[in-house]
Symmetry: C2
Subunit: 138 residues, 2 copies
């Protein structure tokens, strides 16, 4: 595998202003941006932390995957995302080690970026996302 | 607040070889080191991910804090640790925003490094550690 780095840690929140009071005002992470994703039914806020980001996810409906997670598990860490340079090569390498994927082939977001999730039962209970980036990872 | 970065994401595991098969062999993160901390009753493995690390924590007794967490919540993400340059200044800034700390003054590990945990009720359910580093954070 070529080098990979932590792209972001995703956190499910039930109160976005309260969450921003901690992550932005108290911890001092610069707000990188906010967006609303109606396809996934979430409001998102990104905070920059060095070379990585904290991604706050607030459900906008009661029946989305994130809303159900929040109702079942409560607010907290949701997944960790790693940036990779060639997602198909990464998925091929990972599955060759017996690891099960949620997305066996990469999915594509509206902005054209590609990603796939690894099944938590193969990671020891952690939901892991791989996200393809085109710039170098150093 | 001066710049801070993600130092590590800590993951509680119940099977360290299985966890290393995912994080090291499948995901390809280089093993940075392993250690046994009898004070906290954990075996620890560090994996390097860019400028940050994944820290795997395996309890070595049944009654430690990590063992109780594993029994109650199952394996998975445990806390996120940020590196800061002046932990006393960071804690002062954070508490001025009304955030509650688990450790109101920094604790010191056997190797002399200083750290403090923020209470999850002030962060939206995330256990956050601050860790003082002496080198620059860029």
């Amino acid at each position: 595998m070529p080098p990979i780095k932590i792209d972001h840690l995703a956190v499910v929140v039930d109160d976005l202003p309260a969450a921003l009071n901690f992550w932005q005002n108290a911890l001092g992470l610069p707000l990188g941006g906010t967006e609303r994703n109606d396809h996934e039914a979430v409001e998102i806020a990104f905070l920059n932390a060095g070379d990585s980001r904290i991604e706050l996810l607030k459900p906008t409906t009661d029946d989305s995957g994130i809303a159900k997670y929040l109702a079942k598990r409560g607010a907290g860490m949701h997944h960790i995302c790693f940036a990779v340079q060639d997602i198909e090569a990464a998925l091929k390498h990972i599955t060759a080690q017996g690891v099960e994927l949620i997305n066996e082939t990469p999915r594509t977001r509206e902005d054209g970026t590609r990603y796939a999730f690894v099944h938590p039962k193969s990671t020891g209970g952690v939901l892991v996302e791989l996200y393809e980036v085109t710039e170098g990872l150093g």
